[in-house]
């Protein structure tokens, strides 16, 4: 394999911005012409200009992110199985599809995506929903293929995926519309009844004539009936369902209050004397509905962030037939043990083992690692990863719902729905409050009825309204679901709210070494040689995709590479080239020994088991770099922070003693807390011992196990809270309570931070809710609030809790 690079322009052009995306550009052809940061931006720029969409580059607000096409062929989009599932046809012969797009950022994205009809002939219409990152595309199947449209979107940086949650989204939209209609009708009625009430109150003060008074009372009455029958019906049906099943929840006192107030008001209207409560009734219905709507939105936040992940694997797979021909089948229907073919540029539809072919895979979807990885016969590959360079034959281990990506998604889905014991406790608390409130209402009526029958009604109704425990019932689930949803957005997937509660009580933090505390094996750990050589090495390595080259680039990211590199040749085991007139060789000791058999080797200390890379200039061996399993950069600082917060740390490794001790000591683990050469069973046993030792009280300190491998899975399962880190094996992810897709230990600090903050928000919410209700009870029983004031106060308490949950800083993007 041989590659050649032109002189690297990085150093000269650092201040010029990419004409397409606005990021710093790397290459300029001439000073006045367009400059680009990458070839993808250049392609997109050229595409827009040839189709008369150059105006895009005149916008002041542009995406500000480089175009990152996936490079997929999207041929599966044209397949029948895909079309029958996602594409609908209308009578005029046009086809419609919903595509979930990656990389939608801003206003100019709307402009660009909706001009796809100009880019691809045959596309009738493209409409974007910015918030959902979803485009509805209509095209003429006779004129173009969906795959061509998909490739165009991809080239512009908006990698499309079929939108899978179609039915769910439709259901949700119907729910949303029904809710909006209820709110709208209730709001219109409430404001008009309120206006009538103003007329009545001012009229009573200013001696309004009896006829007008009667008119307004009857109008309020007439308006309240539809308010209760239409939008207000939800409370009565829900309360009736609760009564029938023998349970008691907050809709019961609401329905009681609404019913009592309406009946009393109706009687007073007909008899022509006494207060009517219609204004309060309508306001209560309206405000409660608004509260419910906001609550539903809040609880949805958790699922929204993960919904987009649903479209990551292709819908079809190429099954290899016994006669070696290929047959396209739906990806879900591929049987375990069968062999499929995956061409270059396609996404893997299943999990499996490579049985034929050598290629490179991009596994960013599962690991977050953007560099491509080489795969060979016998390697395990996963659905959702992208095959970059050559055809692969893969023997299927798991497809559809059993694939790793599907399981991760299922887990996340479950976490959004699972209700933690703390939440249930809050629910029990609420139903107790309801019972107490009903008793108090009866007492209030009994006390006041002796003095003034009308006032007794007033006060009892006010009490029922004001003590509605919705704020209390909202307090915990809302704070938790908000926190879980926000955590998912920063790459921390939490299974249940109880996990957050446990994590807020620090105990033992048990950490696996490889992959958790350390990075992998292509990190530069030592450099013996002249620093001036760095730019020379970077110049040669910049064109290479080898992991070692990537290691050099990562380690010396701040160093500019030499400009005059020519004729770079990559040969097995090393790389050679000419930089600034010097012949450079970089490679393994064996490569050096074969190229320069007579060179003199400097006296270097031994490599400590790391992988050495030797550098020679003009035939003299001058420098050595070693690559190895380096400790994560943020490990020391993160562990120090966690220890300061009260966590005791333990290192539990399956690795050799010497290596574990070196890493452990460097990271400040006490020698007695470092355990090496532990088998999976030993790991689980140690963690179980810690959990036992922590006690079994109501709030025992948390024992958290952090690991990534299959060998940690058992330990993760027995820990109070199991945490599967970045790129972990699916066994550890399946048993873990928290799965993290973020690199490094900083995510652990963020998790601990977020857990403590969430618990603070919950406690604050409960305190708000309780104090509101207590004050409300006192005021209502002493006869200081009218039903109208109560109707305003009650939703205010719910809204306070909703706002406090939303504004509570739990997991913030800044903690990234």
């Amino acid at each position: 394999m041989a590659t050649s690079v032109t002189p690297s322009p990085i150093a000269r052009a650092a201040t010029i911005d990419c004409t397409h995306c606005g990021l710093p550009a790397l290459g300029v052809d001439d000073a006045d012409g367009p400059a680009f940061c990458c070839s993808a931006c250049a392609t997109a720029y050229a595409m827009l200009n040839t189709h008369g969409l150059g105006a895009y580059h005149g916008f002041t607000e542009r995406r500000g992110a480089a175009v990152k096409p996936s490079g997929r062929g999207f041929t599966d989009f044209d397949h029948e199985a895909f079309q029958s599932r996602y594409v609908t046809r209308s009578a005029d012969g046009l086809a419609h599809v919903q595509l979930a797009l990656e990389g939608v950022h801003c206003a100019s994205c709307v402009w660009l995506i909706e001009r796809v009809p100009l880019l691809v002939t045959g596309v009738a219409r493209a409409e974007l929903d910015v918030r959902q990152s979803r485009a509805a595309v209509t095209w003429d199947p006779a004129a173009t293929d969906l795959s061509a449209i998909a490739r165009t979107l991809d080239a512009l940086g908006y990698t499309p995926h079929p939108h899978r949650g179609g039915e769910r989204a439709l259901l949700r939209r119907m729910e949303d519309r029904a809710m909006l209609i209820r709110i709208g009708v209730a709001g219109a009625i409430a404001t008009n009844v309120m206006l009538a009430a103003v007329a009545l109150y001012t009229g009573e003060l200013n001696t309004m004539d009896a006829g007008s008074l009667r008119l307004f009372r009857w109008i309020s009455f007439a308006l309240t009936i539809p308010a209760l029958v239409w939008p207000g019906r939800v409370f009565f049906t829900s309360a009736w369902a609760a009564v029938r099943t023998g349970t008691i929840h907050m809709d019961v006192p609401i329905a009681l209050a609404l019913g009592a107030a309406f009946t009393r008001g109706a009687i007073n209207t007909i008899s022509g004397s006494g207060p009517v409560y219609f204004d309060g009734v309508c306001a209560l219905v309206f405000l409660l509905l608004v509260g419910r709507f906001l609550q539903a939105r809040g609880q949805r936040a958790a699922t929204d962030a993960t919904e987009q992940l649903f479209a990551l694997t292709p819908a079809t797979a190429r099954l290899v037939q016994p006669d070696d021909s290929l047959l396209d089948v739906p990806a879900d229907a591929v049987g375990v043990g069968s062999v499929i073919a995956v061409f270059a540029g396609e996404t893997l539809p299943v999990d499996g083992t490579v049985v034929r072919g050598v290629s490179t895979l991009n596994r960013a979807i599962l690991t977050g690692e953007s560099a491509d990885v080489r795969v060979n016969v016998g390697d395990t590959v996963h659905a959702g990863t992208l095959n970059r360079s050559a055809e692969l034959r893969v023997k299927v281990h798991a497809s559809g719902d059993d694939s790793r990506i599907a399981r991760i998604l299922a887990q996340v889905d479950e976490s959004a729905r699972r209700r933690a014991p703390v939440v249930l406790l809050a629910d029990r608390l609420a139903s107790r409050v309801v019972a107490v409130v009903l008793v108090l209402a009866v007492i209030t009526y009994a006390i006041w009825v002796q003095r003034d029958a009308a006032a007794a009604w007033d006060h009892a109704i006010a009490l029922l309204i004001v003590t509605c425990p919705c704020a209390l019932a909202l307090a915990t689930p809302l704070a938790m679901s908000t926190a879980v949803g926000r955590a998912a957005r920063v790459g921390i997937f939490i299974k249940g709210g109880d996990t957050l509660e446990s994590l807020s009580r620090p105990g033992w933090l048990v950490l696996d070494k490889t992959g958790t505390l350390t990075v992998g094996n292509t990190t530069l750990v030592s450099w013996l040689g002249d620093d001036a050589l760095k730019s020379t090495i970077l110049a040669l390595e910049s064109a290479s995709t080898h992991p070692i080259a990537a290691g050099f680039r990562r380690a010396w990211a701040g160093t500019a590479s030499s400009a005059n590199a020519t004729a770079t040749h990559t040969i097995g085991g090393g790389i050679s080239g000419v930089v600034d007139g010097h012949a450079i060789l970089i490679g393994s000791p064996r490569f050096m020994a074969s190229r320069l058999p007579h060179a003199r080797w400097p006296a270097w200390p031994t490599g400590d088991g790391y992988t050495p890379v030797i550098v020679a200039v003009d035939g003299c061996i001058v420098a050595r770099a070693t690559f190895g399993d380096a400790i994560r950069e943020d490990a020391a600082a993160s562990l120090a922070t966690l220890r300061a917060r009260g966590w005791r740390t333990m290192l539990l490794s399956g690795d050799a003693d010497a290596v574990s001790r070196r890493v452990g000591t460097a990271l400040g683990f006490a020698p007695s807390d470092i355990f090496s050469e532990a088998s999976p069973e030993e790991k689980a046993l140690r963690v179980r011992d810690l959990v036992m030792a922590s006690g079994t009280g109501r709030t025992p300190p948390c024992v958290a196990m952090v690991g990534d491998g299959v060998n940690d899975a058992a330990a993760i399962a027995v820990a109070t809270v199991g945490i599967g880190v970045h790129g972990g094996a699916e066994a550890s992810l399946a048993t873990a309570d928290v799965a993290m897709t973020r690199d490094g230990l900083a995510a652990l600090v963020a998790l601990d931070d977020g857990a403590c903050r969430s618990m603070r928000v919950i406690r604050r919410n409960i305190i708000y809710a309780f104090s509101y209700n207590t004050i409300g009870v006192v005021l209502a029983m002493s006869g200081h609030i009218t039903p109208l004031v109560a109707a305003i106060m009650m939703p205010v308490s719910s809204l306070t809790v909703v706002l406090a949950s939303w504004l509570g800083r739990t997991f913030t993007p800044e903690t990234r």
Binding site: W111, V130, D176, A188, L215, I219
Partner: protein, 46 residues
């Protein structure tokens, strides 16, 4: 004050018309996406 008997029902009719328009809007999906159309209109100069 007899004018009230004419004006108040008239006002209610107006409210009914408003609610009707709102129902039409919701059912037509006008409230489904409140973000994109606002952005779209700015860039629609061509």
């Amino acid at each position: 004050m007899s004018v009230l008997y004419l004006v108040v029902p008239l006002a209610l009719l107006l409210v009914a018309a408003g609610v009707g328009a709102y129902l039409w809007a919701v059912k037509n999906g006008q409230m489904d996406d409140l973000e994109t159309p606002g952005i779209r209109v700015i860039r629609d100069e061509q």
